[in-house]
């Protein structure tokens, strides 16, 4: 080989290496995004699972029923959460035997104290800081597991706010969504795959479903607002309105995945069933549907996870209201986890930021669990014909 062509070959190999590096970089970049993202959320959110408490002498006197602030010494009372004080009168009414006693208790600290003890930016005054430091040095403060976060609804006081009512709301909304979209979607898929003849109507419906899958989710919110709320009169912010809106949104996802599952059942099964005299519905319900059930289930779980993380259409139908108590029915005003994350993320008070991240961690854990279930289900029941 002469010198020139050798040189050009070397250049081409160098170009090859460079191209491969570009491609690998892209993949690495995507991985880096993922790592940065998760470590950022975890580092912001994990502290919210612990909550500051202060050990104080609580003297339960008769006056505490009217003036709860009298229960503790005046010096520490402004380090303690107002949420704790608010609950005192009720506690005394329920346990009248407490009146007249003095006990040493761990009580919920104020949100700012909590942030100070976690070395985060806070709005504490200098005097309060020295007091908190003194309490800390005497082991009168601790970070305990944050049960409030899981048992309470939203609150205007960050230290006593939790995800409970949002989680209950999410369950209600998901029940409505799945109760609507799962049967409708599977029936549609069965019709299109097994019953419909190939004519212009069927093709138009197919095109329509594919287009529905690509319509931005916020437009489903406009539909929900205009039709479910303004026309039909379903109460605003209710789980019913949100669930139906999300149900329409996840319908195309379920239809498309169910059709794929039905299609993967080979025709020989159908022909065998027809051959022994089964009707079309018997073929479907006795043979095709049971065989494609794992696939349909996988698709539905993925659709469920998608609907669970959706926010935009729910904002439009009003599901971002302040909901301190868990809803007790499908027509009560409710909020859902993503909407709660959205409201907290725009709250002005600092401690809400870590709660937002913690709520995100809980939501992500649930979603990853759902997706993992779907993957395992597919692996376990996957059949090759």
């Amino acid at each position: 080989m002469d010198h020139a062509s050798l040189k050009s070959t070397r250049m081409r190999y160098r170009r090859e290496r460079r191209f491969k590096i570009y491609c690998a970089t892209a993949l690495v970049l995507a991985g880096v995004f993922l790592v940065v993202f998760f470590s950022d959320i975890v580092s912001k959110g994990y502290t919210a699972f612990w909550q500051a408490q202060i050990k104080v002498e609580v003297s339960y006197t008769q006056d505490v029923k009217e003036l709860p602030f009298l229960a503790v010494g005046e010096d520490v009372s402004n380090l303690i959460s107002r949420a704790w004080f608010r609950k005192l009168p009720r506690k005394l009414n329920e346990h009248p035997e407490l009146i007249g006693t003095t006990r040493t208790e761990w009580v919920l600290a104020d949100g700012a104290v909590d942030q100070y003890l976690k070395d985060k930016p806070n709005g504490l005054k200098k005097k309060q800081k020295t007091l908190a430091d003194r309490l800390r040095s005497r082991d009168r403060t601790r970070l305990a597991f944050n049960t409030y976060f899981f048992t309470q609804g939203d609150s205007k006081l960050p230290e006593s706010s939790g995800i409970f009512s949002a989680a209950v709301g999410t369950i209600y909304v998901m029940i409505v969504t799945m109760a609507f979209s799962l049967p409708t979607g599977v029936l549609t898929a069965i019709y299109l795959e097994e019953f419909a003849s190939d004519n212009w109507l069927t093709r138009a419906i197919e095109v329509n479903i594919n287009n529905l899958a690509a319509i931005p989710s916020i437009l489903y919110g406009l539909l929900g607002l205009a039709i479910f709320i303004n026309y039909v009169g379903i109460p605003r912010s209710s789980a019913l309105a949100g669930g139906l809106t999300l149900g329409l949104m996840s319908l195309p996802v379920i239809i498309i995945s169910s059709r794929a599952a039905l299609r993967s059942v080979p025709d020989s099964i159908r022909e065998a069933a027809f051959g022994v005299g089964a009707s079309r519905w018997q073929v479907v319900s006795h043979h095709v549907l049971p065989m494609s059930l794992p696939g349909i289930l996988t698709g539905s779980i993925i659709a469920l996870a998608q609907a669970m993380g959706e926010t935009a259409p729910l904002l439009i139908v009003g599901m971002m209201a302040f909901i301190p108590e868990a809803p007790s029915g499908f027509t009560d005003a409710a909020t859902v986890m993503p909407a709660q994350i959205y409201t907290w993320s725009s709250a002005a008070l600092r401690p809400y930021a870590e709660r937002t991240a913690a709520a995100i961690l809980v939501l992500l854990a649930v979603l990853i669990l759902l997706n993992l279930t779907a993957v395992l289900l597919r692996k376990r029941y996957e059949r090759t014909w």
Binding site: I41, K44, I215, S217, L219, R280, L315
Partner: protein, 415 residues
């Protein structure tokens, strides 16, 4: 009596009735069988036949009452409807049971009903489309009665500011007139979409090339699920990430470079939206690249090309239509994405070229107009539907173009 309680009663009454009907119908058919008659259908179809005839009239009547109630023509108290419908169910069930005999073509009848049921379920998705189009168009038409289409499409100032005063009948008090020129909103939307695609297209495409052309099975087995995780993250979480982490970081970088950046800059939601779209682009392009016939690659290798030369000169040109379609779908995603921009982009419409300035998008204005306390028929609220209509038209057009492109591509390689 709440609605839920009535529904509970309804189903508590219907389920045992249906159960009884099914068994009675089947029993009657089985008795005929025992008497030596030849049944037309399997016995359980006679049971289903009775159930079907029990419920169809009841469902029809309930639907009529519901429509009458909603239209406000006639409002019958719910308990009356409940009792009436249950009585109708019992009567129709008895009649159907009476008609059960061996020669009845129960299977055919039940099958036809099922077929209709399936067809009705299928129509719901069509109704959804019609519903979206109608609900958006109706309100948008009301809006265009107040603001001309031309002004909406070409105006460069969006200041609905005093629209709510006019709605309250105090229009004269403020001198500034409400203006609905959507150009700055579209400019912001396209700017953020452009930034997102600048991130998503190269990263998504190159990782797809790496996964389908270079990576071994093991790496592929790790990388593909990792990208799927990226796709499964809810958009509100991306929005939080953009607003709390990326925006301050960009402001910090801009300051160290001596530039001025707003916390609601367009760059941060753009970049994060790009990250969100990466898995979308990469999985679509991966499908397309893997579907290019191996013979094309082998033919190219046989001429002595390197792998990258084959990719650049053979694979990518062949996959080009598919990649274009993935790109268009990505754009349509970015245009309609809401939570990231609601949380990280600005509210103020701003016509500017600088991505470090605050900008707003179509979806932000829609959410802002519909989550406030404005009256539903104020111009600002209705403007949300006009914006929604444009969003719908643009995304539908992108989807249709992309599906045409991909169909041509599939025909070419006979997939």
């Amino acid at each position: 009596m709440t609605l839920e309680y009535i529904l509970l009663l309804f189903f508590a009454g219907l389920i045992p009735l249906a159960y009884a009907a099914f068994f009675l119908g089947r029993r009657k058919a089985e008795t005929d069988l025992d008497r030596g008659y030849r049944l037309n259908s399997p016995p359980s179809f006679y049971g289903w036949y009775v159930i079907v005839w029990m419920f169809l009239p009841a469902i029809g009547v309930s639907a009529v009452f519901a429509v009458l109630h909603m239209a406000g023509i006639l409002s019958v108290p719910a308990p009356v409807v409940l009792v009436g419908v249950l009585a109708l169910v019992a009567a129709a069930g008895g009649l159907a049971l009476h008609r059960v005999r061996a020669s009845l073509r129960a299977r055919k009848i039940v099958e036809d009903v099922i077929r209709w049921l399936l067809f009705i379920a299928t129509c719901i998705s069509v109704f959804t489309t019609v519903g979206i189009v109608l609900s958006v168009v109706f309100e948008a038409v009301k809006f265009f009665n107040m603001v001309s289409l031309w002004e909406f499409l070409t105006g460069t100032t969006w200041s609905p500011g005093s629209a709510f005063l006019e709605g309250a009948g105090r229009g004269g008090e403020q001198s500034s007139k409400a203006e609905f020129g959507s150009v700055p909103i579209f400019a912001g939307t396209f700017m953020i979409t452009f930034i997102a695609m600048c991130v998503a297209l190269p990263v998504g495409l190159f990782s797809a090339i790496f996964m389908s052309e270079y990576a071994g099975r093991n790496l592929r087995g790790v990388a593909k699920p990792a990208l799927e995780v990226l796709a499964g993250i809810p958009t509100v979480v991306y929005g939080f990430f953009a607003a709390i982490t990326v925006s301050p970081f960009i402001v910090y970088i801009a300051e160290t470079l001596g530039l001025e950046a707003a916390y609601t800059n367009a760059l941060s939601p753009g970049i994060v939206m790009g990250i969100m779209i990466i898995p979308f682009i990469s999985s679509l392009s991966d499908d397309v690249i893997s579907s290019i016939p191996q013979s094309l690659r082998e033919g190219s290798f046989a001429l002595g090309t390197t792998r990258s030369e084959t990719i650049k000169h053979v694979v990518l040109p062949a996959a080009f239509p598919g990649i274009v379609s993935a790109f268009l779908l990505g754009v349509s995603r970015a245009l309609g994405e809401t939570m990231i921009v609601v949380m990280a982009a600005g509210l103020r419409p701003n016509l500017a070229w600088n991505p470090l300035e605050g900008m707003t998008t179509v979806t932000v204005r829609i959410v802002d107009a519909l989550t406030g306390d404005l009256a539903f028929d104020s111009a600002e609220t209705l403007s949300a539907f006009a914006l929604g209509l444009t969003l719908l038209v643009v995304t539908l057009m992108l989807n249709i173009v992309s599906s045409i492109v991909i169909r041509r591509f599939k025909q070419q390689y006979e997939m």
